[in-house]
């Protein structure tokens, strides 16, 4: 009896303290709190925290609170759940695939609406980034972490296989030949794998001046069909499947899971986002080389496409909070902040000024692997095909592609049949989504 009374006292005590704690924020009302949900895992997380800490130190009246909320797709799902529940965060990092979903959501405040004229020079934003995210010449979300895909390769394995470490494959045919030599020499069980295989398929389209979906990739009007089941898409998947049959290519799973095989020397080459430059260079126990993505011969040249994410401002907050968010965005594009972000992660700095700053500091000459992505995207040709795909149900479409690719490289379906299955599902998704927004 006595025991239970003690417990009761304790519970009541806890409740009261809970209430008190719950009420205290009134004291610190002067500080504007900004919640910032992001998906930056591993080495990217401390880089985000570094930016936020720098900003908070400079702004005693604003407190940005970064919260790692899982993978990109999970962050998007959580933000949607929060918005539907009536308590959205202030800032959400949404990957490029979610762009159309966010534009359609009715739950966001476009960045140009909270912007104060003249405080950010939009002309200074790196062109391919602006091209990807601008709608009708206006930015709806704040550029933050942009990347593109490049080829990483293990120079030590190249040497061991008797290959020239300064001559990575630049075409599909060379990939097959060099990859075949690597496998045959026995230095690694397989030659190449992809990070984000679904994104690599998009890269192939933009790189060869091919549309991924109709209506100019869904930019001139809502896309109604994907084009992956046409000659070009089938060709790419057939090539990849052929590589897989020869053991040259090994399917490495989604997102960053193939990095492990590359770092362990089980593959000699990796297609991966530039955002892995930082972590791969640090973790690799071999000499890392980087180069442009290999191309198919006989197709026109386009450009590699931007990936990564932007920051979206959510509806439902006060003007004071939007002012604070704007301060944070201004801080993000400061040349030194943007440059540091690039140094820590490998993501593109968002402005040309930051690129110049990095160049002047000698960063690029000391870290040649950080230049590759710039050169690839700046030597590409600006065409509508390479400006990035905008599809409402893009997340589901990517999943459909990934499943089809898995079926093809496993030999469960022929490349053509796999792409037909993918296109049928994707087109159904586009139709259903489009009807919602008619």
């Amino acid at each position: 009896m006595k025991k239970s009374r003690c417990l009761m006292c304790l519970l009541v005590g806890l409740l009261v303290t809970g209430l008190v704690v719950g009420m205290t924020p009134t004291v610190s009302e002067a500080v504007t709190k900004i919640s910032f949900w992001h998906a930056m895992s591993a080495k990217r997380m401390p880089a985000v925290n570094r930016i936020v800490e720098g900003f908070n130190a400079e702004h005693p009246d604003i407190q940005v609170e970064p919260q790692f909320s899982g993978k990109y797709k999970e962050v998007l799902a959580k933000a949607i759940a929060a918005a539907r529940g009536g308590s959205p965060p202030h800032i959400v990092q949404v990957y490029e695939v979610g762009t159309q979903t966010m534009l359609d959501s009715g739950a966001i405040v476009p960045v140009f609406e909270i912007a104060k004229a003249g405080e950010i020079d939009w002309g200074d934003i790196i062109v391919p980034i602006k091209d990807y995210y601008a709608v009708g010449g206006k930015l709806y979300s704040m550029p933050f972490n942009s990347s593109t895909s490049i080829l990483y390769y293990n120079k030590d394995l190249f040497k061991q296989a008797g290959l020239d470490p300064n001559k990575p494959p630049s075409t599909f045919a060379e990939m097959e030949e060099i990859g075949g030599k690597i496998v045959k020499s026995g230095v690694a069980p397989n030659a190449v794998s992809f990070g984000w295989p679904d994104w690599q398929f998009e890269q192939m389209h933009t790189l060869h001046k091919q549309f991924y979906a109709n209506n100019e990739n869904g930019r001139s009007a809502r896309a109604t069909t994907v084009l992956g089941n046409q000659e070009f898409g089938v060709k790419v998947v057939s090539e990849w499947t052929k590589w897989a049959e020869k053991g040259v290519f090994i399917y490495g799973g989604p997102e960053y899971s193939a990095n492990k095989a590359f770092l362990a020397g089980k593959i000699a080459m990796l297609y991966q986002s530039t955002s892995s430059v930082g972590s791969i260079s640090k973790a690799a126990k071999f000499e890392v080389g980087t180069s442009f993505l290999p191309r198919l011969e006989g197709y026109q040249k386009g450009n590699s496409v931007i990936g990564g994410a932007t920051l979206w401002t959510m509806k439902g907050h006060s003007q004071k909070e939007y002012d604070a968010i704007w301060e944070f965005y201004k801080y993000l594009v400061r040349p030194e902040v943007s440059a540091q972000w690039h140094r820590d992660t490998g993501y593109f700095p968002s402005t040309n000024t930051a690129v110049k700053l990095l160049m002047d500091q000698g960063w690029f000459s000391e870290n040649p692997n950080h230049v590759t992505a710039f050169l690839q995207i700046l030597t590409g040709i600006k065409v509508p095909e390479s400006q990035g795909v905008r599809l409402g149900p893009f997340v589901a479409i990517r999943q459909a592609f990934k499943t089809a690719l898995e079926k093809s490289v496993q030999g469960q379906l022929t490349p053509k049949a796999a792409m037909e299955e993918y296109a049928a599902e994707a087109n159904k998704l586009l139709k259903e989504y489009g009807e919602l927004y008619q």
Binding site: T101, S105, G106, P254, K260, K266, A396, Q410, Y437
Partner: protein, 292 residues
């Protein structure tokens, strides 16, 4: 002996917190799911199109059928392998040997891990390029099993992981069941000349049947509903939907592909299915379960 409440209202008052919780967190969301299952819903839920039973007829696709088959095969494997192995382990852990406490603790251990942690461990051990298991397999056979590209192998790995995760739970209950069996019965049989196998089949196993039925239901529900964490961490339903069980498909369609209406329809079907399964088990189980 019978005791009475002083007031007729009091029992309802005492029950009310539970009733409120059930209504708010179970009944209302279920009704909402039922409602949404007749609509196509935009990702942010701001637009609805009434589609009648389209979401349900859309379930008659090869993908959903595939998920259904995967779930049945997977759950069957988890239940059969899990119960057989765990009963054997429990019998072993019921012996009087030195250090038995240590063995028992070791057996129960995995249950304390969260599915995410367990998934990460298995993903590391079976990683196609860097995992210890893959390494030994490739040493032994020369071939590299890769669950990122080999569907059936992925199912095997997930089954192993899921079964391993339930070992602690099953062993505890089997052990408890074994310890309630009166020693006299077994000793009497022994004196009558029954061998260990006969003793097991004719005494231990029937007396254990209530526990076995309980575990059968719990493991079936586990296979159906609670393997989400493992699959999400390890395979994400892949490769090529080989490990896409119904629950994972529901999650993916609802929260990643953002098709709320379609996912709601799936949840209704899943609910009906599991409710039916549980009823069936209870009804038929009465015929062969021996309650003391």
């Amino acid at each position: 002996m019978q005791s009475k409440f002083p007031s007729r209202l009091l029992p309802y008052l005492l029950l009310s917190p539970s009733i409120v919780i059930v209504i708010v967190f179970l009944i209302i969301p279920s009704l909402q799911s039922l409602y949404l299952s007749f609509f196509r819903v935009s990702p942010f839920g701001d637009r609805l199109i009434y589609v009648a039973i389209d979401n349900f007829t859309n379930l008659l696709t090869p993908d959903y059928l595939n998920s259904f088959i995967v779930t049945v095969v997977f759950t069957g494997a988890v239940v059969v392998v899990g119960l057989v192995v765990c009963l054997a382990l429990a019998l072993a852990a019921n012996q009087k040997v030195a250090g038995i406490g240590l063995y028992r603790t070791g057996l129960i251990w995995p249950y304390a891990l969260s599915p995410a942690v367990a998934g990460t461990i298995w993903a590391l051990v079976f990683d196609p390029s860097t995992g210890a298991f893959s390494y030994f397999i490739s040493l032994a056979s020369g071939a590299m099993p890769n669950w990122r590209t080999n569907g059936p192998f992925a199912v095997v790995v997930i089954t192993l992981a899921a079964t391993w995760k339930m070992v602690g739970y099953n062993v505890i209950f089997f052990l408890a069941g074994l310890q309630t069996i009166p020693r006299e019965l077994i000793e009497a049989a022994e004196i009558d000349g029954a061998g260990p196998l006969k003793r097991f089949w004719n005494i231990t196993f029937p007396l254990l049947s209530p526990m076995t039925l309980f575990l059968l239901i719990m493991n079936t529900l586990y296979g159906f509903f609670q393997v989400f964490g493992l699959i999400d961490v390890m395979t994400e339903g892949g490769p090529a939907r080989a490990t896409e069980v119904l629950v994972y498909k529901l999650y993916y369609d609802g929260f990643i592909s953002l098709k709320t209406g379609y996912a709601s329809a799936q949840s209704i079907v899943l609910f009906a299915f599991v409710a039916g399964l549980t009823l069936l088990q209870f009804r038929f189980a009465k015929r062969w379960v021996f309650y003391q």
